[in-house]
């Protein structure tokens, strides 16, 4: 009782309640909030546009000089007179390393995720989960050093000679696995990339696998499905969109990864059929040459950057398109 009177007293003391004033204060708050969020959203577009414009401005001299031939010229001779520069070597290296990396990382990453969510005993789940997360937390320079000092020599003495011997003389495969073994090669870079992007695929897949309603899985087990059949026919179809999202995120990282790759790819602009030969990627080429470049050379490196930007954009766009198609198909 006493409390109630107190509140009434206070309300009276505050004077007559001004409804219009209170409402306009709300409106002002709403408008401010609306504009703050809107500006934040627009700033993303401005930054993106600014980056594209400055890349185009920087790359313009090279575009004017080489035109589309830049895309299929393999020579990279910045000191020639006039400089002959082409993007084929770095583009080839970028695509090949990312492709091999995904070839390794997707099955392994999904395997880990399926094991963790469907098969793993409870006590093992946390250690493996934490290990995968730690893998994601290792800075890329550490991967580069490890690849350079440990993985490179190891592969050059064990894996590479074996593969070279097995496929020696076999058409096509013999050219892909041609010698000599090398500490620094496209394959080594791809393997490091695979390890680096593995956590992305695994972590996202684990998260989306957990969203599968238990009732679906239990129903499948109920009618006698094996674990493989449950994963194949229930879990994967249900979570397809999420898994592909994770894979695309991983691919995006693989395409742009710089430091670790620069360490172990060998920075050579020649294109070789062998994946055990040194090569270069777009980002590695920019990282190792930008500081000492000028004029057309620098402009060409910026153009390479623009190409990487476009390449990544197309990969993401293709992923979106694929998802849309899948959803449509599933809808029918």
């Amino acid at each position: 009782m006493a409390v109630e009177t107190d509140v009434n007293d206070m309300l009276e003391a505050a004077g007559p309640y001004d409804r219009a004033k209170a409402l306009s204060a709300f409106r002002l708050g709403d408008a401010t909030f609306y504009w703050i969020t809107r500006l934040s959203a627009i700033s993303v577009l401005l930054i993106l546009g600014g980056i594209i414009i400055s890349l185009i401005v920087g790359a313009w001299p090279a575009m004017k000089q080489y035109g589309f031939a830049f895309l299929w010229t393999q020579r990279w001779a910045p000191e020639a007179d006039p400089p002959v520069l082409g993007a084929l070597g770095p583009m080839y290296g970028t695509l090949v390393t990312s492709f091999i990396a995904m070839l390794i990382a997707i099955p392994v990453g999904l395997g880990i995720a399926i094991f963790l969510t469907e098969l793993c005993p409870q006590w093992l789940r946390r250690p493996i989960g934490i290990a995968v997360e730690l893998l994601a937390g290792i800075p890329s320079i550490i991967y580069g050093m490890w690849g350079f000092f440990v993985l490179g020599p190891f592969l050059a003495y064990t894996f590479q000679p074996i593969m070279i011997r097995i496929f020696d003389g076999v058409p096509v495969l013999g050219a892909i696995f041609a010698g000599p073994p090398s500490y620094l090669s496209l394959f080594n870079a791809a393997l490091i990339l695979a390890i680096m992007v593995l956590p992305f695929i695994t972590a996202i897949s684990v998260d989306v696998f957990k969203t599968v309603p238990p009732v679906l899985k239990e129903a499948a087990y109920g009618v006698g499905c094996t674990t493989w059949e449950v994963v194949r026919n229930v879990v994967i179809p249900y979570t397809r969109v999420g898994v592909i999202g994770g894979v695309m995120l991983a691919l995006g990282r693989a395409l742009g990864e710089t430091m670790a790759v620069t360490f172990i790819i060998g920075n050579s602009f020649r294109i070789s059929s062998s994946i055990f030969a040194p090569g270069t990627t777009i980002s590695a080429a920019i990282a190792s040459e930008f500081a000492e470049s000028d004029g057309l050379h620098q402009s060409s490196l910026i153009l390479l950057g623009l190409l990487l930007f476009v390449l990544t954009f197309f990969v993401l766009a293709a992923a979106r398109l694929m998802l849309l198609r899948l959803e449509k198909k599933a809808g029918k």
Binding site: E79, E292, D294
Partner: protein
């Protein structure tokens, strides 16, 4: 009022001391960095002013001094006189040093192997691919060489060391001259690229059956296996201080306009064939004249007191007569 005065006074003191302690700024060549940082250390003890030198590479050093973001630039590739005049820059050689081929072959110790210019060119052209190639065997009849593929290491970044190395190969191998030529970043026909003298050292130290080229101090510090070279006189020479001095003594600085002189493939029985110099670039009419005078004081100190430090690191100091001439250049060209 006293309080305000005290603050103003304190501010003035702070401003004047910070101006006094302002560092001399420079950027460029990684080749000169080991000795320059030693000079800077002892100059700081001597005079109190420090030197802030970024070893970002010759090309970048030239760009920074042109853009006036640093007081001096250092480059291993001298600028031509026309370029110097266009940019209003003064140029002089600061130190000389040697570039040596380094290898990593099991059982081969430093100095065991001897190469000549054309063979080195063929290796870097990717034409000689195995260590037991007849051309290498002919130069080293007693060495035990494996039948292993040569893993060629070169610089991935633009570099003054590369300029001097390819300049040498162009002089001794017509094939190299027509196919690749000279420059700070050439179109390498073979091998893997590594960043900086440090990167090449690490790569060669790490990779079996590899060959690379580095500034001598890097080979020594990293305990790499250097090779001997056959010089212009046809003599096989080991990379020693005497051999470097012999090559440097040929240099006729007094008749080179703008000190434009490249010291590869010098005559003389005892000359090491790949000797390089690092050049300092400064604006003749600098915006901050006090800073450029400070920098000149540092260089004067280095010329006077730095010879021993340079020799400890196996650089070759500039001869006294040349130093006198350089000091004359300073007073006539750089406005105070």
């Amino acid at each position: 009022m006293n309080f305000v005065k005290a603050i103003v006074a304190a501010g003035l003191v702070a401003a004047s001391t910070s101006a006094y302690a302002a560092d001399i700024t420079g950027a460029g060549s990684t080749f000169i960095y080991p000795v320059l940082s030693k000079w800077a250390d002892s100059y700081k003890k001597d005079s109190g002013s420090g030197v802030n030198y970024q070893s970002i590479g010759s090309g970048a050093g030239i760009k920074q001094v042109q853009a006036k973001t640093v007081t001096f630039g250092a480059t291993d590739m001298p600028l031509k006189v026309e370029q110097l005049e266009k940019d209003g820059l003064a140029q002089w050689p600061m130190i000389m040093g040697a570039i040596v081929p380094v290898v990593n072959i099991e059982g081969v110790k430093a100095g065991d192997l001897v190469l000549d210019g054309p063979t080195l060119g063929e290796i870097y052209l990717g034409k000689i691919t195995k260590w037991d190639d007849p051309a290498i065997k002919k130069l080293n009849p007693n060495a035990k060489l494996p039948s292993a593929a040569i893993s060629v290491v070169h610089r991935a970044d633009g570099s003054g060391t590369t300029f001097n190395f390819t300049n040498y190969l162009s002089k001794v191998s017509p094939d190299w001259k027509s196919k690749v030529g000279e420059g700070t970043a050439v179109e390498w026909p073979a091998g893997v690229g590594a960043k900086g003298n440090e990167g090449v050292s690490a790569n060669v130290g790490q990779t079996q059956n590899s060959i690379g080229y580095v500034e001598y101090a890097y080979a020594k510090q990293n305990k790499l296996t250097y090779t001997g070279l056959v010089n212009k006189a046809g003599k096989a020479i080991q990379p020693t201080n005497d051999a470097f001095q012999a090559a440097a003594s040929n240099a006729d600085w007094s008749h080179a306009p703008g000190y434009y002189l490249i010291l590869t493939d010098q005559p003389g029985d005892k000359s090491w064939p790949i000797v390089a110099s690092t050049f300092i670039l400064m604006h003749k009419d600098a915006t901050d004249k006090a800073a450029s005078q400070e920098a000149l004081k540092f260089f004067k100190f280095s010329f006077e007191k730095g010879d021993k430090m340079a020799e400890e690191l196996d650089y070759i100091p500039m001869p006294d007569a040349v130093v006198k001439q350089i000091e004359k250049t300073w007073s006539s060209e750089i406005k105070s």
